[in-house]
């Protein structure tokens, strides 16, 4: 398995000189990627009046970054903080649970032959092709029969399933957990679950981090599911709440709070970007390993 950064340009005689044209092209694309984010950063320092009167990619006359920050957290008795807490709850329980379930199931599929194994494959991987949102309306109706709508469970339970995570762990476990090792543990009389939690889980670590990161992103960014499941703003995650703030600017008697939407957006991005940057070594090697399978 090639490590992502192992092939360094200068040491490999096969590698040609660096290309300036390529660099310029990539810089242009990088600018496209960055401009909205830079716009968001500059805009987060502006008052509402400043937003209207200044150029998007530079500061306005008065800098109101701290004011916006305070206003975002104190608006409507600190509802933003509540939304942040809700999001964290959905991420920790939803993404955490999804990672655990996908890891166990992927490992089970890779390392055990059991009746119904092929059926599990067929059903789960076939389900990937079914549009998730196609299931939204029936799921909503079902959950409302069960009395689950407008509770955190309505957001958490559907987040617990990650077919992509299951696939990644299945590939990863097939490659990196030697069957001989499991057999040795069995001979020693260790139970299967015990072996899993003490031995296998360590070997699976890069794959687990990758799955965790992607399920965290999926739940942190989840919009459609909470939108249909929740009607009480007290249970909103950040995404639905921000969109509601934004919609406040529309219609008769509107009270635009653009500065708060922009600051809120910035605050919503920051944690997830930091998580990606800090964990990049793990998820990049995890993904590469996931594609090794031939």
């Amino acid at each position: 398995m090639a490590l992502p950064l192992a092939r360094s340009g200068r040491r490999d005689p096969l590698n040609p000189r660096k290309s300036t044209t390529l660099l310029i092209v990539m810089i242009v694309y990088a600018l496209y990627t960055l401009i909205p984010l830079v716009w968001l950063l500059f805009s987060s320092t502006k008052t509402q009046a400043g937003l209207f009167s200044s150029f998007g990619l530079w500061f306005a006359d008065d800098v109101a970054f701290i004011d916006n920050l305070v206003a975002t957290f104190s608006y409507r008795d600190g509802i933003f903080l509540r939304w942040l807490g809700n999001t964290l709850l959905y991420v920790v329980v939803g993404a955490g649970g999804a990672t655990l379930l996908a890891t166990m199931a992927g490992y089970g599929l890779a390392k055990f032959r059991f009746p119904g194994r092929r059926a599990v494959f067929a059903i789960v991987l076939g389900a990937v092709a079914v549009p998730g949102t196609a299931l939204a309306v029936p799921t909503f109706l079902l959950f409302s029969e069960l009395g689950l709508t407008n509770t955190p469970w309505a957001v958490i339970i559907p987040s617990l399933i990650s077919p992509f995570g299951l696939y990644l762990i299945w590939v990863f476990a097939s490659e990196s957990v030697p069957t001989e090792l499991l057999e040795a543990a069995r001979l020693d009389g260790a139970g299967e679950l015990r072996t899993f939690f003490t031995v296998s889980i360590r070997l699976l670590a890069p794959g687990i981090v990758t799955v965790a990161l992607f399920t965290v992103v999926a739940t942190w960014n989840n919009y459609f599911l909470p939108l249909i499941m929740l009607s009480d703003p007290d249970w909103y995650p950040l995404t639905v709440g921000l969109n509601q703030w934004s919609a406040q600017a529309i219609g008769a008697g509107s009270q635009p709070i653009y500065n708060l939407v922009i600051m809120g957006s910035l605050l919503t991005i920051i944690p997830i970007v930091i998580a990606f940057l800090l964990l990049q070594r793990f998820w990049q090697s995890g993904l590469t390993a996931g594609s090794v399978k031939q």
Binding site: L37, W39, G108, R117, V120, F121, A129, T133, P158
Partner: protein, 306 residues
């Protein structure tokens, strides 16, 4: 990732014969399958059930056979929304995947200075929630304080009008492209990294240039990843909802309640209480998506065998 994502074949395993058939595996797979049944299989069955019934003001719920399907297939609003996402799919997906593949090849080429910096930068938008991405771009597009208005002010004319009827789909396409090039780039890049370096050495000995290497070695090697990315993108396009729905308040006259099939199903159920018809629309879109994804997968793996 290779085509194995969709394949149901068990992974080749050396110690296979010695593993005995028992039920222990269910201890690991069971919990996943229980939740899976609750959030995937049951709603799917329920949607099917709903699609065969109709709720009437008088007489309550009654079985109507395929009436809902006949209605959907002759519904001009449904076909308009379907045509729109199909157009979106045919134009936006190739652009996005081509950009992603080009970026992955550039990052992998070893001719790029600062490759790891560019890799993380291009991937970054994937971590931005769709809501935030659309709000940002929506403001940027806007004529009040967006960059668009800055440019138009500079030019003195309304040169760029992202919310105009004829540009709206392009504006949405731009947002989706911005969000997902990085994700697809990473899929391709991971796949490129698995090409053994001996292949490159052999190619170099044969005197193959950079372009030759790209088209004879690299592109064929990422075919599996390309199939996967295409399938995900097809599913994503047919499900298009977040971007138009969040932009809708900014351009209510352009983005109708039936702008995409998903928005149509959503508005039918939550604004119109027509749950049965909404479920039918969802089932039809699910079937179309699954069939197209299956065909792409078959064609993709068939040409790989050849």
């Amino acid at each position: 990732m290779t085509t194995h994502t969709i394949s149901t074949a068990p992974p080749p395993s050396r110690g296979r014969r010695r593993e005995k058939l028992d039920w222990k595996g269910w201890a690991f797979v069971g919990p996943f399958m229980v939740v899976f049944a609750l959030v995937f299989l049951t709603p799917l069955a329920y949607a099917l059930y709903l699609s065969f019934f109709q709720e009437k003001l008088i007489g309550g719920t009654s079985f109507v056979g395929l009436d809902n399907y006949v209605r959907a297939l002759t519904d001009p609003q449904f076909w308009e929304s379907f045509g729109r996402v199909l157009l979106f799919l045919v134009v936006q997906v190739p652009i996005m995947l081509a950009l992603a593949l080009a970026a992955a090849l550039a990052l992998d080429s070893a001719r790029l200075r600062g490759a790891s910096f560019f890799r993380i930068l291009i991937f970054l938008p994937y971590a931005v929630p769709a809501v935030v991405a659309v709000l940002m771009w929506g403001y940027i597009y806007g004529d009040q304080f967006g960059l668009t208005s800055n440019i138009n002010d500079l030019l003195g004319v309304d040169a760029i009008t992202p919310f105009a009827k004829e540009w709206m789909l392009v504006s949405i396409g731009n947002i989706v492209t911005w969000e997902f090039v990085g994700y697809n780039m990473l899929i391709f890049y991971s796949s490129l990294k698995t090409i053994p370096s001996e292949m490159y050495e052999a190619a170099a000995l044969d005197g193959a240039g950079a372009w030759r290497t790209i088209f004879s070695i690299k592109v064929p090697s990422v075919r599996g990843a390309l199939v996967i990315a295409t399938i995900f993108s097809i599913i994503g396009s047919f499900q298009l909802f977040n971007e138009p729905n969040i932009l809708r308040p900014l351009a209510p006259n352009v983005i109708t309640t039936f702008y995409t099939p998903n928005m149509y199903a959503y508005n039918l159920s939550f604004a119109g209480q027509q749950f049965n018809y909404a479920a039918t629309i969802a089932i039809i879109m699910g079937v179309i998506t699954a069939v197209i994804a299956y065909v792409v997968q078959l064609r993709g793996s068939a040409s790989e065998v050849r």
